[in-house]
Amino acid sequence: MSEPFKKIENKENVVWITQPNEAETLLKRRETAFNVARGKLIDSGGKIETAMQTAEAFGRGLFEDFIKREIENWTMEEWIEPVVENIFNPLGTAATFTSISEKEAKSLIFRCRLHEESNEPHMASLFTYGFLRGIFLSAFPQGELIMGSSIAQGAPMIEFTFKINATEKDLFERERVKNFYSQNVKKIQESII
């Protein structure tokens, strides 16, 4: 894989680095959706489920507009290249994919403009998880997005694993993430208000 990644290789490892190339239209679209998700969280009296669904719907919309092709059974490679080119890079997301295989891919996002600009790390992390999940499940309905560390938890980066076939445990990742942010809903609301 070359573009839209930069491939860095040594004897033992290969990693792929995104090439951020910000596009105002997509940044604006995400900003609008993020504000809608915040607004819906407030309107619903703090229902994390509503904010999560909003983010997922936004991700599915991005998939429809920027990724979707006539592919019956997607492969990780077919999915990941347009996602990095049309979503990660235009959103200015600096990420390193530490592994990409047929079954799963691992990424470390170490720069996310949403986190920098929103000043709401919990809401930004929740939204980022939701919209990436929406993009991923649009191609891999049997898959799951696993969130490792997140900036909202004080980590310097967000760790995601994209799994094409979710295990039993993985299937509850969305609820786990939601529960984590439900516990922090007060922090989210405080940061919004």
């Binding site: 809608v36 489920e49 919309g61 049997q142």
Partner: protein, 254 residues
Amino acid sequence: MISDEFVSTGIEKLDKLLEGGIPKGFTTVILGSPGSSIEILSKQLATTGNVLYFTTEETKEEVINTMNRFGWNPAGANFIDIASKYAQSVISGEQKRVSIYEQRSKLRLKELIEIGSSGVPPIARGEEDFLAILSNKIKTSTFEKIIINSLDFFLSQYSQEEVLRTIHAAKISNLQNRGTLFVIMTKGIHGEVFERKMEGIGDCVLELEVLQKGSNFERFLSVKKMRNYAKKIGIARYTIDSDGFVLEMIERIM
């Protein structure tokens, strides 16, 4: 006075803006942003007529509580509580997972391998097909008014293509049943292309907007589209008081 060809929205001045309400057989798409009180409008629509109300973000009880708070009678509304069904499916999935783990802890290695080889068990994703529920209920509906609040839920679970196909089928069923179908969705999430497609499906398109003017917020309801009734296109400023939507300053655009 509402003629036999029209259905009242439940808001007198909106009926006036629409010059008699919504024509029977029409599909109305309502777009709004958070802060526009679109969730209040959706409930006020359910205050008149014989109504089938799909609620996806709030439970039936929450909807009824809000209606009671405004002094609206929810008796005419029949609810399909998708919010509760969805929450229940998540809870039951979690319970199944716990029971599978409990069961597995008592199994031998060979039995474990046999279970493992059957692939992913249909638990967390084993929820109901909510889009099929929506489709079936509308197809067989005899209700005067059907309200889907909101499409956002379905768009978080299904592809836009599937949702569009379902709404298109719902529109046809509604036309045949001579009811009125209201589809509510949030603006700014799903992309402009999808919003345009939904506006294309709608016979009537209403949009709620909130504009900041200095330190104040002004809210506007615009009738963006009314098939075969061009002169009904107009805009009205509105506020929300203890009785719900209050439309003021109606302005005709065409």
